[in-house]
């Protein structure tokens, strides 16, 4: 995300310019866009979602929504983690005419008209009003604009990695965990979302001991540790499968053990006008100070309940800022800062100013008496929200622990550990020790013979220190929500949800935290609750009279940080792969019109359907059928398996024979058809249709998985064989020229399956004829596909052979009344109704898939039937034309063609069984009128099959 940020660059700063809303802004190298804007005095960087209030920098860590801008056309970029670059064009969003002066701020004044969920209660009466209102809403809604100048042409890539232990987070705990695991002899991958290791110590120099740099260099130089910097783990999926974004790259990391050392972030206070520019988290001020080299002109008030507030104050003062006061929530804090006025037991009630903080009102926790302090900045250090969403995602169980005021893991998911601040250990010494413990535990879990998979809670014997001490009994349950106040106190900055909105929603009945979220939209915006969830839960708990633990949390869902679609899609130029048969080049060279068949490219037609049709019917034709699915089954129990899978019989299939088969599902519905050849006693070669090749492979494996005791070995050889179909009255003469094998009718009759040499290549040859002619389906190893293809065409030249495409094939098979699964059948078609009753052998002793349903169907009788028909008029209707009976839907056409053999338009249709006798008339709706057609029982071509069997 922020891979461009340099590592605390020590070099002499280079300055350059970029553009913000048309103005030129100077930046120093290493600065973020937000830092440069801060230095330039641009403190309003966005407008809020609903009320269009001015917003300034709050978190400086890419977690809040306040600094979202459009950068070089990309909408919704957090400029606080985006390095400034020369010439960059940054534009504010969601404001008109500008972010400095936004007319839509009027909504802020009209808030009484727009209470929580107002849109559910208005704008729908009378009914025609809603579409009118909706148009207005759709004009105002949304954040960034779609960037039409960018296509999916970015440079993206994907990487797959494996590791023994993945450590997420390069702070103190993560560094120690990585070292401890690596020293124990396992491989470690350390993923950190910052450009440099060190976590929050990078911008809190007092905490960072001198040993930090030594620790970092030990990690960086450790041979067993792979550090991935500037990379965000956005998801922890099943079985420790981590999704990681690093700039334009997505890394998929499979880890045997995962340690989440993800730390925490600061949470903001909820008080009146708490969204004013100038109100900032202490860590944000520290980042600006130390990483962006910014200054804070004017006075600062610090509100705090912990040591961090004092450190921030010290650092700000050292940088030349005057500290107006420290407002400490605690009555007896251990820290102090010489020469600074303090208000103990106080908190901030409200901030004043219209476009920037001008002062703050403070009061004791009870709310009175109030006093006003003048200041330009309000820096808040009032506690932390643990970054625990990856723990939740992976199935860890957490419970809110009042002593540390955060959720703590009570049960880890298998092979997952956590360490450091996410465990409530904020003190550097404790975090380091916890990291070492987790690192050792992860390594031990890997090395122990039984692969202990979880992190027993007892191991964590570190005492969790109470930070602050504000949890004394007299403290109110959630001091970070200020008491009273009539002005807006924002809980959710993304969606402009105030404390009052939440209370109102609960009063209306949305008291469950999940329904509350959906109704008030709290935590549903770009930050996904990072800034607001803690306060929302606290307010919900208070208003319901429940504890925080009882209130629960909303579900943590990936991605942890917003994730660009381009990164997910990766380097996909065509997005879906293209499959080509071994003869593809030949087809293209010979002028074939290619078409898509799933991922395959197939020749549709070479010359014309008429010419190709004639070649097959009168001489010989050759079609590429390499796309067929091909499966080899071997083993003693293959026959048993086939008998179970297919409704027809296979026990009696002799070696050297091939049989047509239909595969049905449990309901007897046709899934696919194909041929089954027995090449040896325990060796079978099956074909499936092109479209179902993968589905049938899965189907077989699915049923085999439950029958491990059966000796059936399945090999998918779809890609290993090229296949072609030689068909036509002269095809035997053609093939004879290429083989020594006996092709005579006696030696290789119809439905023979043999393994012979064709053109010097070993081939499986099946004597079948989908198009209704003497034909040979020839399977040869893929690398010889084009050689055999060319050899056959060469051999057939004297007979005037021609290649033919799918369009001719479709017509040829239609004349034979052969259906195509999925084209002529649908999710209701069983073989009984699809005119294949002979294929269903209900008298097979053992069960087969679909047997019960087919028996039932037979008993019931057919309701619908697949029939062939011939139109009485010389027109070709649309494929999707309907068959009507008495004005109602009676059926539909599935195939259509102009048949030379029938001398007219023929087709296949599903119609009511009552109309399906030979010679019955059906009516087809064509262009709004009904045209008669006659049901035809027999194939239109060669009904007795003489040519096929010749």
């Amino acid at each position: 995300m922020n891979e461009q940020l340099s590592d605390d660059s020590q070099a002499t700063p280079v300055t350059y310019e970029f553009e913000f809303d048309g103005q030129r802004v100077r930046a120093e190298s290493g600065q973020t866009v937000a830092g440069a804007l801060h230095s330039a005095g641009e403190h309003i960087v966005s407008r809020s979602f609903k009320y269009h209030r001015p917003r300034g920098l709050l978190c400086m860590s890419g977690r809040c929504p306040n600094c979202i801008c459009t950068v070089d056309g990309t909408p919704n970029v957090r400029i606080c983690t985006q390095a400034a670059k020369p010439g960059m064009v940054v534009k504010s969003q969601n404001a008109w005419p500008s972010v400095k002066f936004d007319l839509l701020r009027i909504f802020d004044k009209l808030h009484r008209l727009m209470p929580v969920g107002f849109y559910y209660k208005r704008m729908y009466k009378p009914r025609w009003m809603w579409p009118v209102w909706e148009k207005v809403i759709r004009r105002i809604a949304g954040l960034g604009k779609l960037d039409r100048s960018h296509g999916a042409d970015g440079v993206y890539d994907k990487q797959n990695l494996f590791t023994d232990v993945a450590v997420i987070g390069g702070g103190l705990a993560g560094l120690h965990a990585a070292l401890a695991a690596a020293d124990a002899g396992v491989s470690v991958t350390l993923i950190d979302d910052q450009p440099a290791l060190g976590g929050h110590l990078r911008h809190d120099p007092e905490l960072a001991e001198s040993r930090l740099n030594e620790l970092i260099s030990r990690v960086a130089s450790h041979p067993a540790i792979n550090v991935i910097s500037s990379a965000t783990v956005f998801g922890c999926y099943d079985e420790n499968y981590l999704g990681i974004q690093q700039g334009q790259r997505m890394i998929r990391l499979r880890a045997a053990q995962v340690i989440a050392a993800t730390g925490c972030w600061e949470r903001p206070l909820v008080f009146e006008n708490n969204d004013l520019p100038g109100v900032m988290l202490a860590s944000a001020a520290q980042r600006l100070l130390h990483l962006d080299k910014c200054r804070f002109p004017g006075e600062v008030v610090i509100v705090t309940d912990n040591a961090q507030g004092y450190r921030a104050a010290k650092q700000l003062r050292a940088a030349g800022t005057r500290i107006a006061a420290i407002v400490d929530v605690r009555d007896n804090p251990p820290e102090s800062l010489e020469g600074v006025r303090r208000f103990l037991g106080h908190t901030v009630i409200s901030a004043s100013g219209s476009r920037h903080v001008g002062g703050v009102v403070i009061a004791p926790l009870a709310g009175h008496p109030k006093q006003t302090l003048s200041c330009r900045w309000l820096v808040q250090a009032v506690g932390f929200t643990p970054a625990n969403s990856l723990l939740y995602q992976n199935g860890c169980k957490l419970r809110y622990d009042e002593s540390v005021d955060q959720a703590i893991v009570i049960q880890h998911a298998p092979a997952m550990h956590s360490a450091g601040a996410v465990n409530g250990l904020h003190d550097p010494g404790n975090a380091a020790a916890d990291g070492q413990r987790a690192g050792k535990a992860a390594a031990e879990a890997l090395c122990s013979p039984c692969h202990r998979v979880s992190d027993p809670p007892a191991e964590n014997n570190l005492e969790i220190p109470r930070h602050g001490g504000h949890k004394e009994e007299e403290s109110p349950p959630c001091h970070y929500v200020a008491p009273s106040g009539a002005k807006k106190k924002f809980v959710c900055l993304c969606e402009d949800v105030t404390e009052k909105d939440i209370c109102d929603a609960i009063d209306e009945g949305y008291s469950n935290i999940e329904t509350l979220k959906r109704y008030s939209t709290v935590s549903m915006g770009p930050c996904q609750g990072k800034m607001c969830q803690a306060a929302a839960i606290a307010i919900c708990a208070r208003h319901n009279g429940q504890s925080i633990a009882e209130t629960g949390v909303t579900t943590a869902r990936p991605p942890e940080q917003p994730l660009p679609l381009g990164v997910l899609a990766g380097r996909a130029v065509h997005f879906s792969l293209v499959r080509r048969t071994p003869m593809h080049a030949w087809h293209e060279q010979h002028g074939a019109k290619m078409g898509d068949a799933g991922n395959w490219k197939r020749p549709q037609v070479y010359t014309s359907v008429t010419q190709e049709y004639e070649a097959v019917r009168q001489r010989a034709g050759l079609i590429d059928v390499s796309t067929l699915g091909k499966i080899e089954l071997r083993g003693r129990d293959v026959v048993k398996f086939l008998e179970f899978i297919y409704p027809n019989r296979f026990a009696n299939l002799k070696v050297g024979r091939v049989r047509y088969g239909v595969i049905c599902d449990d309901a007897g519905i046709i899934l696919d058809d194909g041929t089954i050849a027995r090449l040896g006693e325990d060796r079978f070669f099956l074909t499936t249709t092109t479209g179902n090749a993968d589905a049938i492979d899965s189907w077989f494996r699915w049923w085999l998985a439950a029958r491990p005791q059966w000796d059936v070995r399945l090999t998918n050889v779809s890609g290993s064989y090229a296949a072609m179909n030689l068909a036509g009255p002269r095809s035997r003469e053609v093939l004879k020229k290429l083989t020594d094998a006996d092709l005579s009718r006696d030696a290789m009759p119809y439905l023979a399956a043999s393994e012979i040499q064709i053109a010097g290549v070993p081939a499986i040859v099946l004597r079948i004829g989908f198009v209704g002619e003497l034909g040979y389906e020839i399977h040869v190893p893929a690398q010889f596909g084009q050689h055999v293809w060319e050899a056959i065409l060469e051999a057939g030249r004297e007979f005037n052979i021609a290649p033919f495409g799918l369009e001719a094939q479709r017509l040829l098979r239609l004349e034979k009344k052969h259906f195509l699964p999925g084209v002529d059948t649908d999710a209701l078609s069983n073989p009984l109704e699809a005119d294949l009753p002979w294929i269903v052998k209900l008298d097979k002793e053992d069960d087969f898939i679909g047997k019960r349903s087919l028996a039932r169907s037979l008993q019931r009788g057919s309701r619908n039937k697949l029939v062939a028909f011939q139109l009485n008029e010389p027109i070709v209707p649309d494929l999707a034309s309907l068959v009507l009976t008495n004005g109602k839907l009676g059926g539909r056409i599935t195939s259509i063609g102009q048949s030379p053999a029938a001398g007219g338009t023929i087709g296949l249709a599903w119609i009511p069984a009552s109309l399906s006798r030979n010679g019955d008339t059906i009516q087809i709706q064509i262009n709004g009128r009904l045209v008669d057609a006659v049901v035809h029982d027999e194939p239109f071509y060669d009904p007795s099959g003489e040519k096929l069997k010749s």
Binding site: F49, G73, P75, N76, Y119, Y120, M123, Y124, R127, W130, R138, R139, G142, G144, K145, L146, R148, H150, G151, A152, G235, Y237, D238, Y241, G243, Q393, E508, G509, Y510, N512, E514, Y519, T521, G525, P526, Q528, R557, P558, P559, P562, L563, L565, A569, G570, F575, S576, G595, D596, D666, A827, R856, S857, R860, D878, L879, A880, L882, L884, L889, R892
Partner: protein, 399 residues
């Protein structure tokens, strides 16, 4: 505007005339229409919170351009009830009927959609085939003429289709039940159903026992588990269905776009978020965890349709459970085996859009004991009698 309580919390009574299990759109709609028919001593039991299941996880698409006459008639009733729902329930459910486009990228797809258009028109549903020029006019940002692996050849255009604020529908029905005198019990989990002599007698919950002669199973993904409580095995497999949402963008997409070839569909809410999804996961599971593979696939396919979205960010992903039947159609009605046990289940990926119609007709069935004609094709017995409904082609991916 005085805020009024949407629904109240009640003590669990020890007897109800009807107990509805499942506080989603189906259960609540049935309860609501029951109160309108005068059956008021009823309870809706929800184990978590209302809308926890599919009603809160679906992608809120409403349409009636199905394939079979049974399906079309049923969903057409639902669209009409949805159009009236805001007025009927006095709550803006934000039904935005900006049209629904199902894309075809190959000849077979065009044929299937043309057949649906013809059947829709025969049934009086507004639906027609449109071609690239018109598709581009309706959706200017769609990649119709640019480079594409599977160029768009046609679309089934269904102007009354659109999206709705799904949570609002759930809440509004719950309020309707409450105002009508029914009880909505959240965090109330059914642990057993008592059957004596083939008749339902009582329901046990974590909050106590309820005597009742009539139980409706409206539990979607958990339908099989609840039915098993009365010893009934129903032909349902539960599969996860995943979806995701992006950060809000200024609205640019008004219609719902569906592509079966690319296994993706997308719409843009009034808040500006793009909502996207795919087909159900291959394998049966009760897991509510999303997968990375889903996100990657959805992104690849969405970018094929809208290449400009490459730098738009996914905000969250989630999964819901779909109760799939073999014929991709619901099971509605009673069972001859257990008197008093009724179901509106098997709603798969198409349940939310059917909520009002199923609730309306199920209420009629429960109140009168007679099966309305429009429910007849969807009886459980169709699986024993082999009278399946052929909705698979129009229901599977195209939500």
């Amino acid at each position: 505007m005085v805020s009024q309580r949407m629904w109240r919390e009640h003590e669990l009574k020890d007897q109800y005339d009807v107990v509805i299990i499942g506080g989603g759109v189906h259960g609540l709609a049935t309860a609501y229409y029951l109160t309108k028919l005068g059956v008021k001593n009823i309870a809706v039991l929800e184990a978590k919170y209302i809308g926890f299941g599919g009603s809160g996880r679906n992608t809120a698409i409403v349409r009636s351009n199905y394939r079979t006459p049974e399906g079309i008639a049923f969903y057409d009733l639902s669209v009409k009830l949805y159009e009236q729902l805001a007025a009927d329930l006095d709550f803006n459910v934000m039904f935005s009927q900006h049209g629904h486009l199902t894309l075809a990228h190959n000849e077979r797809g065009v044929t299937g959609l043309t057949e649906r258009a013809n059947t829709n028109q025969l049934m009086g549903v507004n639906s027609r085939i449109i071609f690239p020029q018109e598709i581009q006019q309706i959706v200017p940002d769609l990649n119709v003429f640019g480079h594409s692996r599977f160029p768009i050849q046609a679309a089934l255009y269904h102007p009354p289709g659109g999206i709705i604020r799904h949570d609002a529908v759930v809440w509004a029905y719950a309020r309707g039940v409450d105002r009508g005198g029914g009880h909505v019990h959240q965090k109330t989990e059914v642990t057993a159903i008592e059957v004596q002599n083939g008749q339902v007698e009582a329901v046990d919950t974590n909050r106590g026992r309820i005597k009742t002669k009539m139980v409706l199973n409206a539990t979607a993904g958990y339908a099989g588990l609840i039915s098993r409580m009365v010893g009934l095995e129903i032909p349902i497999e539960t599969h996860p269905l995943q979806a995701a949402v992006t950060e809000p963008l200024k609205p640019f997409l008004n219609s719902v776009i569906v592509s079966s070839t690319l296994h993706v569909y997308v719409s843009q809410t009034d808040r500006g978020e793009l909502v996207l999804g795919a087909e159900v996961d291959d394998h049966a599971s009760y897991s509510l965890r999303g997968t990375l593979a889903f996100l990657e696939g959805a992104a690849i396919h969405l970018l094929e349709l809208f290449p400009h979205l490459a730098n738009v960010k996914i905000l969250r992903q989630w999964a819901g459970l779909c109760d799939m039947t073999p014929d991709y159609s619901p099971i509605m009605g009673g069972t001859p085996d257990v008197k008093g046990f009724y179901m509106t289940v098997g709603w798969g990926t198409y349940g939310f859009k059917a909520g009002p119609a199923s609730g309306y007709l199920m209420a009629e069935l429960l109140a009168s004991g007679k099966t309305p004609k429009r429910l007849e094709p969807f009886a459980l017995t169709r699986f024993y009698d082999d009278c399946l409904v052929g909705e698979k082609a129009a229901a599977s991916v195209s939500h």
